[in-house]
Amino acid sequence: MDAQWINLIITVVKIVVVVFIFMLPLVMLMTLMERRISAFLQDRLGPNRVGPMGILQPIADGLKAFFKEDIFPVNVDRFLYLMAPAIILFPALITVAIVPFGDQMSTYIGGHLVNLRFQIADLNIGILYFVSFASLGVYGLVVGGYASNNKYSMLGGLRSSAQMISYEIPMGLAIVAVVMRAQSLSLNDIVLSQATTWNFLYEPIGFIIFVVASFAETNRLPFDLPEAEQELVGGYHTEYSSMKFSAFFIAEYSNMIVSSMLITTLFLGGWQVPFGIMEALNLPVIWEQLIQILAFLIKTGIFLFIYLWVRWTLPRFRYDQLMNLGWKSMLPLGLFNILLVAVQMKF
């Protein structure tokens, strides 16, 4: 077969594996882990009856959601009401295309020597792709809030989108500092530039800014005023039921997973194993790759745990405190971080 067709088939297989076999089951696992970990933090057990340790609980939840009545309020804007869950799922799932799960290796597939990258697309513009598509996450909220024809939904949608827009800027500034060190926007180059020190030690302020901005971008506590149950009845997803509601939550958990993967890639050295272990053990290539992918997944898992941990530990920010933090604290800190990294790189 032609080399072009082989590459196309490999890319399609990568997309299917990453999205359907990795992301969606991981989202299901996250719904379960959220309930178990929050239960442990609150000194109780959580769901552990359906399957061993409650592993099959998400399937039970999914079945329940399917069988729920799909309420369609009368005065909503039909087309936008149906499209809003789709619009919000689109950037959540598409940003996983640039994440490097592992290093590259040359193997023989179908008789051709291909350079197999464990990354769906190694774009020249790498991290800018994430910045652009993360700023599209606003549409699902705004359209969902508007289409529901409900005061609380509209307010929740507008507040949430204002929050997301405000925190894109500190996120961008933290990314600029990382790109300065890597001299390239491509995520693979960013991972390789952390061979000496990982970025969270080289630019700790940038790390903190990016983590806080990720919390704000994914609408997770302590920044989840837009969907706060006590304040806005549920915010932009008040009027949605059963599977459309689940779509909003799949999008939120997908955003969380992609943010954790990006924090790992940008600041924790991606798929690299620390302390030079890989050079010490001289393993065959395929084992090296698998261990590196495992290292990446472990680091992502640590950040997912931190997401869940913070949710049940910290109280919620008030809206004006949230905006003040974004514009008056994070933005100057981001600029200062860029200055600091520039000085560090010079000397």
């Binding site: 652009s132 606003v138 549409y139 508007y146 507008l158």
Partner: protein, 169 residues
């Protein structure tokens, strides 16, 4: 071959989005059709191998400008546009033919010239080349745009500020 198919897919989506922008009555639908057009244009930029421009196009236009439009539409609560009785139907009958005449003039150039030059493989759309050009030869326009953005920000804030009433205590 695949590129030709992709070109026509994006072109049809862009034109459909543009027609929807100028014909829907509900401003929110118009804004979302504009997003469809902008996305299709970003696809066209990728076909022209201008990767940086494509992604900045999505970030700036679809991610910020149209969101600004949507905010203003929702904050001002602009409903469906109703036509006042006996008003401006003649504008449609006058405007569309004139627009089509303009279209004919512009398209006739496209059909006559540049018909046998094709999209070339090039690397001037990459971030490195644009970065080099922006910071060496075009650094003055680049810095002036930063001042322009500052001025625009000040203007927008001042214009939309509510005049506060000073209550004497």
């Amino acid at each position: 071959m695949l590129q030709n198919i992709l070109f026509f897919v994006f072109a049809i989506l862009a034109v459909a989005g543009a027609v929807m922008v100028i014909s829907f009555r509900n401003p929110v639908y118009c804004a979302l059709s504009l997003v469809l057009t902008l996305f299709s244009l970003a696809g066209e930029y990728v076909l022209l191998l201008a990767h940086f421009i494509a992604i900045v196009h999505i970030a700036v236009y679809a991610g910020a400008i149209v969101v600004l439009f949507l905010f203003v539409i929702m904050l001002l609560n602009i409903r469906r546009e109703e036509r006042a009785p006996g008003s401006i139907k003649y504008m449609v009958y006058l405007g569309v033919p004139l627009g089509l005449v303009l279209l004919y003039e512009l398209v006739s150039i496209g059909f006559r010239e540049f018909t046998d030059v094709y999209v070339k493989a090039t690397d001037i759309g990459t971030v490195e080349k644009i970065g080099q050009a922006l910071f060496s030869k075009y650094v003055l326009p680049f810095e002036i745009t930063s001042i322009l953005l500052l001025v625009a920000m000040l203007g927008a804030i001042y214009l939309s500020k509510q005049k506060l009433e000073i209550v004497s205590k």
